[in-house]
Symmetry: C2
Subunit: 890 residues, 2 copies
């Protein structure tokens, strides 16, 4: 190593550690924590870590090969390791055996490669057998090396080795690996070498060659497809690569005073403060993983019925381990997941890391640690994963249930749903009324399916992304939904569908078949799977209270019905940020009046239909104002293209024609005339109000009559009227005039008034660019980030499902822009609109009511932009409360 | 008037003029020119002008009433007028009569109101009769006052007065108004007063009351509906209001040495330098307008066959007028339109203004005046109306033909087309081949109609705006097109259509009926109307050469075929800025291969279809490169959604299924699967190349093979490859890699290379916002302002036709944003993208290839932004050349 090149290798041993937990980005999680544990004086097998920077250099500058100066730096540290252990690598009477393990800065469990027992060859295996007085152990270790090296380094299928092992076992009538004799193991070793030869390789007897090849393989595994996919799925970006940990082997399989295990400093499922773990005597780590023997509980605290605990088998070792786990948790101030090995009664720590936990445990541990004084509220809040809170708000599948996964869709709306398959919304409603839970299975959903979705236990669609109609509506309802299952093919005529599982099996499902949906993972499961109910427990209430005390962003909800509004209020919503009036237009008789309004030829006819709709709207508003007594309610004027309200099927057109006294042709012609090439960019939003001002007037009249009615009953009503899809200041000015005129007319006729605000959704690029003009006519702005994303990116959320996955896999975009705000693109427009809007009107209230209002990453962005509130679907309100608190703290 | 209030009234007379032509914004065109003529010592009847500022104040601060200080200022000037003329207003032996006329800063002929002969009442009419020794004249003047005052000021229908006049004429068996006796006129006057009384008014005998009421009415006429509509249609914005001219009456109807006329200093139709005009002896201006008598030519220069010329009738007056007209043209250095009146042999000038002229005259006058040394080239260029140049490039209807207007659509593509109605593109092709000119009438057109549009003489659509498919393609072809005729209803099944004219008459037209379309006005005319061919004369070539010498913006063309490319080159295009490769995909066999490519299930099948397409593409490119030898050719990679290439009708699906050996169901399913909710925002543009890189590779291979082939033949080829719909830098980076790889493969296989550029269309808001990143991978940017407008405004150009008219009439937007760039919205993004792009890559070439590249106002904006070139359809190239020169001069 020259002065000019960075230090690529860091040594650690109980006497001496160059690294620490601080260096996680450089040493990876495993390497940094091994160094940290060494610093703490804990029994860590000595070794050294090759840095993630070396991995980056491996890819960037060295064409995926190990380069001379790196090799010499590794050799220097290997020499130091020999000196520390008193063993010699690849030779001598006491041969040094090492493991080579990956370890990135963020945990990627099982995604990258590991090779154990390096340093063994035909000579050292004999020396090891003599030194340990256990030749069977030595040859078994050698066999394992050949198998792992062959698989990981030489890419030979695992199966080829298993096949040879099974052959020898069968030939000698041996059932357990552990029952193989030295001679039998030698036969296996011979056969393993032949397998390697058959694949065109030779197992290197030179231990250094083993070491270089294994290091090279671990670096290479950073970019294996499953590792890439894992990082993508888990939104892991900006990492350099994996570190490589080369560490002295210790063996848990050297007899009844040896063993290996995994432990958590608290219960990872319940969060209870008990030392929880499992172990196996006379075993190596892979035996635990392979599940050949059932591990035992380490103590009786977590499982009182446990027998053969470590506590009883090796009490001194257990006591030492218990002391260490307490020390580790206190040191890291978080629940730890510990790997340990006992070799001949000697305890070694192989790894410690922050333990994964259920949502329930996450919340309980946070609350407990604060009350124990281990961490403060700030730390506790920042550690919460807001997404995970979701799990606590919906029923979940019983984790102990056995399931058959039939397919995978997008986790569009969380929860666990079980029901009988039904392909028709009307039918779903009847079945629901008859007490039968259903899973509504559709190619995609439309506003006509709303009542069916309400009635169903869960919704499954073949098309549509995370923000498709089905997904958005389902989340709004808190209804479990799996959308965009591309392997799902539906035959409505035959009332059946097919799912092709990953292994190519075709499953045909018929109407009435039972099905379970996991809306949190997107899994489609066969039959009825047992569920456990949502747990909105005291601990969650506590952290939500902390969040409320911390955050500056208000959290509102998107809710269109009194029921949704009440649900959201129960979840802590501080108002409604988006009440979509069009959702009120579908129920029962209303749709007939809506259709009459749309199909009207004259203003008079349209006005008649609107007059009939008004009482419905008024009563809906009264319900919502009642549920939100004392809190602001933002009502958006009619937004969608009118043809969304019209029937698509001939049969239904006939019914409409009859109901309205029109000819079928007239209805068909009118529907045809309303057809648009790109409805998203067509006659909708405030364009409806500009063309048909009487619609705006009716809605405002209904709203103000409802507000006065509720006010007269002693309720506090705070209406905010929101004009959608504004692109020009003058559009809003005209609508504002209509609104104030209609409101004044109601005030005059009732002899009462009420305070209210008028604002607009900012959901077009032009609205952002001219926010200074628009702000002249607005009391508030509410970003509609769904539509703003669609227009800024030129990306229809209904159609993007066909190519967004390719865009993510090719690295063009990191995250679905409909899930997490595209900060570098759409974010610029948001920033601009905030600046321009406030320049014109410093008192302008600014919030967001798009789907991004419930996404933690986006919430942090909105906080930075100085927004007043976010609004999200009711079931995301608790998540937003926590995310807003985190945003305030960051 | 106090010192603090502005001067609202300006006096003018031959001795004294407070105003001048410079004050046109303040005094209106008429008032400013009257003052200017007075300053020049020309015989102008004295008077005064109330300013446009007063009109603004009338609307803004005074609730549409005349206020005391204004009235007193007017009275002061009226007193001065009495002193100047020696007459007295409303009294005395020599009563002063005045006219009250509107006059805005920009001409709005006939849009606002005028009242003549104010000052007459039951007393002064007698005095006037005595003073002029012509009581008949005096009572006729009084009759006219009553009629105009009643109509203009009191809003009484014209018809009510005409009815009374006719009754008296009938009763006395009189046919000509001029034959009415004094007594008969007195009867008419009595009846007129009764008409006024019947409408609840009394005619004011007080002349001051007449003056206030008339002034008030003229101010009020500024905002009458037809004036508002006129300003909108003619893009007149930012005016304050109208001025009011109060001027001493002179009378052309006082005998055979009196008369009135209109003259032009040059011929307004041909541009020839002849004094051209018409006059009537013993008549008032309104008689000329009413067309009761046919006016005579003033001389024989413009019309050698003329008899009874002014020159012969009143030679001294004519000589004086001729001197004055020369003086006026020299003074204003532009062709003037002059109104004059001769009262008892005394010549008066009532108005001079810049004369309206045909396109041909506009160009000829500009060229002549430069050669005469009257103006310089700069002035000549700036005076040209680039839009008007259009008329010279297309055949036009014979202006002398009589026409029946059946309906009105949008002037989508200029020209005059005559043909037989045909509702089907395939049929249009056969008829064309059989030598029959057709008008293709469609609800809207799609790419399947391209060949039919080519074959037709003109295209008429019921739907779609100025940038609809029909409009864009037609302009590209130089084909006459009227689009978006909302009154047109088509019944394909019955092969007929109906048009409802403004008066409510329903016209039914059948296949084979003759129809004429005026693509420059949008008029739909009955039967065959005679046309005159395009006139690309020497004068036009001269001004275009001046433009080329002046401009800094390059002008390219949007052309997809060698024919279009050649046309554009003939019109002066300096390269192709947009060659849409998809238009090459529709002809003949190609569409079959394209469909095979789209319907392919596997990469292999898709590759096979692409291999079959490659030779076609290559040969198309060779044709274009040949036509554009030496000039750059920008080729855009495949852009539209794939389903645009697929058939929509079952019959055609069957043919496709047969041709490709697929089942009809398979074809239908695939088409259904490719359906998109918003295709504009779906799988198109470079998204196709990301998902199907083999398409990009095929296109680049064909292009490079063509380029090398042409280069080998001695041609100079400058290919520029353009990637459409880029939103992320990484998208372009990936496509760039594919392009360079494919190009290199061609170079390697042919052993030749060629220089080429790679760039991208900037047509999404996100592309503008992240232009700095995108510019890393681009040699050039070309703004696709059509799509950028659609996304920025959230406005589908195919659907906006239903509400854009309402948006314009309500003043929300000034101009159709697809015709003239929305500078305050979309313009901000263009500016941002230019700045960011050049910050990353200072050598970045930036142009525009949207429809706005041919719009003069937009071209001026692009010049300000520092763009390198604009690209427009071939027939707009000359317009763009002139507009670019004007932009450079401004």
């Amino acid at each position: 190593m020259t002065d000019s090149s960075p230090k690529y290798v860091y040594f650690f041993s109980a006497q001496n550690a160059e690294g620490s937990a601080q260096l996680k980005p450089l040493l990876g999680g495993k390497g940094a924590n091994l160094a940290e544990m060494a610093q703490l004086g804990l029994p860590v097998p000595p070794g050294f870590t090759i840095t993630t920077e070396a991995c980056r250099a491996y890819y960037k500058e060295h064409q995926e090969t190990l380069w001379p100066t790196l090799k010499s730096e590794i050799l220097t540290h290997l020499t130091e390791l020999q000196a520390t252990t008193g063993k010699t690598f690849g030779t001598g009477p006491d041969p040094l055996l090492v493991s080579v393990r990956s370890g990135a800065a963020l945990s990627m469990p099982g995604m990258m490669d590991t090779v154990l027992n390096l340093g063994l060859n035909d000579e050292t295996v004999v020396a090891l057998g003599e030194k340990t007085q256990n030749p069977r152990f030595a040859f078994d270790a050698y066999r394992r090396l050949l198998q792992m090296f062959g698989n990981v380094v030489l890419d030979i299928p695992h199966h080829d080795f298993e096949h040879e092992l099974d052959a020898v076992k069968t030939a000698h009538n041996v059932t357990q690996d552990t029952d193989l004799t030295v001679e039998q193991l030698q036969t296996v070793i011979r056969h393993y070498k032949e397998v390697i030869n058959r694949h065109g390789h030779t197992f290197p007897q030179d231990p250094m060659a083993q070491l270089w090849a294994a290091t090279d393989a671990v670096f290479g595994s950073w970019n294996n497809p499953r590792a890439i996919a894992y990082r993508q799925i888990n939104d892991m970006h900006g990492l350099h690569g994996t570190a490589v940990n080369i560490q002295t082997m210790v063996f848990g399989n050297r007899g009844q005073t040896s063993g290996t295990g995994v432990a958590f400093t608290r219960h990872p499922s319940t969060g209870e403060k008990v030392f929880f773990g499992e172990y196996l005597l006379n075993a190596q780590g892979e035996d635990v993983v392979a599940g050949i023997r059932t591990p035992q509980a380490i103590n009786t605290q977590a499982d009182p019925s446990a027998t053969q605990t470590l506590e009883s088998a090796l009490p001194e070792v257990y006591a030492q381990l218990d002391t260490i786990q307490q020390k580790l948790e206190t040191h890291y101030t978080d629940m730890q997941d510990i790997e340990f090995t006992i070799e001949d009664g000697q305890l070694y720590l192989l790894q410690t890391r922050t333990g994964k936990r259920t949502a329930k445990a996450m919340v309980k541990i946070a609350v407990d640690m604060v009350s124990e004084g281990l961490i403060d509220q700030r730390t506790a809040l920042l550690r919460l994963d807001p997404h995970k809170v979701n799990e606590l708000l919906h029923p979940t599948f019983d984790p102990s249930a056995s399931v058959t996964v039939l397919g995978q869709g997008l986790p569009a709306s969380p929860g666990a749903a079980v029901g009988q398959i039904c392909f028709d919304s009307t039918e779903a409603v009847s079945l629901h009324e008859a007490g039968h839970p259903t899973i509504l299975v559709r190619v995609e959903t439309s506003p006509e399916d709303i009542s069916g979705m309400h009635a169903a236990a869960g919704v499954l669609t073949a098309r549509g992304g995370m923000t498709s109609h089905a997904a958005v509506v389902a989340r709004g309802m808190g209804k479990c939904c799996v959308s965009g299952c591309t392997e799902l093919s539906i035959d409505y005529a035959e009332q059946r569908c097919t799912l092709t599982t990953k292994d190519g099996t075709l499953h045909t499902l018929r109407k009435g078949d039972w099905l379970s949906l996991n809306g949190s993972t997107g899994e489609i499961l066969a039959d009825k799977v047992a569920t456990i109910p949502a747990q909105l427990d005291d601990d969650l209430m506590t952290v939500l209270q902390w969040a409320d005390d911390t955050r500056t962003l208000r959290v509102r909800t998107n809710a269109d019905t009194p029921t949704d509004a009440q649900t959201a209020r129960d979840f802590g919503a501080e108002g409604i940020g988006l009440c979509r009036t069009e959702h009120m237009f579908f129920d029962g008789d209303r749709i007939t009046h809506v259709r009459a309004m749309i199909l009207a030829d004259t203003l008079t006819e349209r006005q008649q239909a609107l007059d009939l709709l008004l009482p419905y709207q008024q009563s809906d508003f009264e319900g919502i104002f009642t549920a939100m007594d004392g809190l602001p309610v933002t009502v958006r004027l009619l937004d969608p293209p009118l043809h969304e309200f019209l029937p698509q099927q001939e049969a239904e057109m006939k019914l409409v024609a009859q109901a309205l006294g029109l000819s079928l042709d007239a209805v068909r012609d009118r529907i045809h005339a309303l057809h648009e090439s790109n409805p998203m960019l067509g006659l909708r939003g405030c364009r409806l109000g500009v063309l048909y001002p009487e619609i705006t007037t009716m809605q405002v009249t209904a709203l103000m009559q409802a507000a006065l009615h509720c006010q007269a009953q002693g309720l506090t009503v705070k209406p905010e009227i929101m004009v959608p899809l504004v692109g020009h200041g003058h559009e809003l000015a005209l609508q504002r005039q209509l609104i104030t005129d209609a409101a004044q007319a109601v005030f005059d006729s009732k002899g009462q008034t009420i305070e209210y605000l008028i604002g607009t959704m900012i959901e077009l690029p032009r609205a952002c660019l001219t926010a200074d003009e628009i702000a002249h006519h607005a009391d508030f702005f509410s970003f509609g980030t769904n539509d703003l994303t669609q227009t800024t990116l030129g990306l229809s959320r209904d159609d993007a499902g066909r190519f967004l996955p390719a865009y993510q896999s090719q690295g063009i975009i990191e995250r679905d822009p409909f899930v997490s705000l595209d900060q570098s693109g759409v974010g610029q427009l948001v920033e601009l609109a905030v600046q321009k809007g406030q320049a014109t009107n410093p008192k302008l209230k600014i919030g967001v009511c798009g789907e991004h209002g419930g996404d933690p990453t986006s919430i942090e962005f909105f906080q930075r932009q100085g927004l007043r509130y976010v609004s999200c679907s009711p079931f995301r309100v608790p998540i937003a409360r926590i995310a807003a608190a985190q945003a305030a703290l960051r």
